[in-house]
Symmetry: none
Subunit: 148 residues, 2 copies
DNA sequence: AGGCTATAGATCAATAAAAGTCAAACAAAG
DNA sequence: CTTTGTTTGACTTTTATTGATCTATAGCCT
């Protein structure tokens, strides 16, 4: 795991963690020079790794005095409507597992929580109908979200 | 007796046992070359032998800089002993919930994880025998422990 | 103000480098 | 002989990297 994109990602993350306001302002070309890569590679990393999905917000400006500002957003909490929108009402086990992975990628649930839920839904596949499964997922997410 | 799949399995296991963190990162194509087999054979072995059921956790990425990461679930004696001691093989749902609370109090699992597990065991009370319930609890703990 | 120019980020397409999938052929066990 | 597990290779999908070209911005100069 030592490709360029990962190096850039870590470089930015370390800059971010050194700030106390969860925000950092950079210059794309300077970064590219420092990290010996094409400037567009920086854009690639920003657009694939620093997305809203993953909890970041990126702004930039071109031209003289151009910059790239990266903000780490506070972790979101799942509410009722969002829990309901996670899967369709007739979802298969595979779709439920995909939804769980999606929630993990969006950092709404942790890796351990994802593993736990995935294990339950896989192991209990045969004793539920799709409707029961979806209901269980929704209620489980809410039960978890309301835990302190 | 020692078919290719077995050879590959042993090869990975020996790599794993040489690490002290129970984790190894490999490249599928390199392995295939070294072991003189089709790359898809590696995938086959991973999906049949290195499952959560058997105590492994596999993640991978494609593309440039792709990799396969295999984690052997650390045998967290604490978890297993606690679970085994607190929950008798014929435990009721109430006893399982008490065990979960105990694990939470001892900070082996988080509040969210406890809420999640408690919800599952309550909601699924009617579709499991006590023995199944205890097994599910133990395996769920192990599945969770393997995530990071 | 209006236009020129240098600057700096955005976009897109081409290329390459992984890993995943799937089905068919094959083997071993019962 | 059937069933279950193994092996292979052709094809698919994902991810990364680069470079050429496009677009926005600020500063200057009439």
């Amino acid at each position: 795991m030592d490709n360029l994109a990962d190096v850039i990602e870590k470089w930015i993350l370390s800059k971010l963690s050194r700030q106390q306001d969860e925000m950092v302002v950079l210059r794309r070309n300077e970064m590219a020079t420092e990290l010996s890569c094409a400037p567009s590679q920086i854009s690639y990393v920003l657009s694939t790794r620093f997305t809203v999905e993953r909890g970041f917000f990126v702004e930039s400006r071109r031209g003289l005095g151009g910059f790239v500002r990266i903000v780490r957003l506070p972790v979101r909490r799942l509410n009722q409507e969002e829990a309901a929108r996670v899967v369709s009402p007739d979802a298969s086990v595979g779709e439920v597992l995909a939804a769980i992975k999606h929630l993990k990628d969006r950092q709404i649930i942790s890796g351990r929580e994802a593993a736990l839920m995935s294990y339950f839904f896989s192991a209990l596949e045969s004793c539920m109908t799709p409707a029961e499964r979806v209901m269980l997922l929704r209620k489980a997410l809410l039960a978890m979200a309301s835990a302190h």
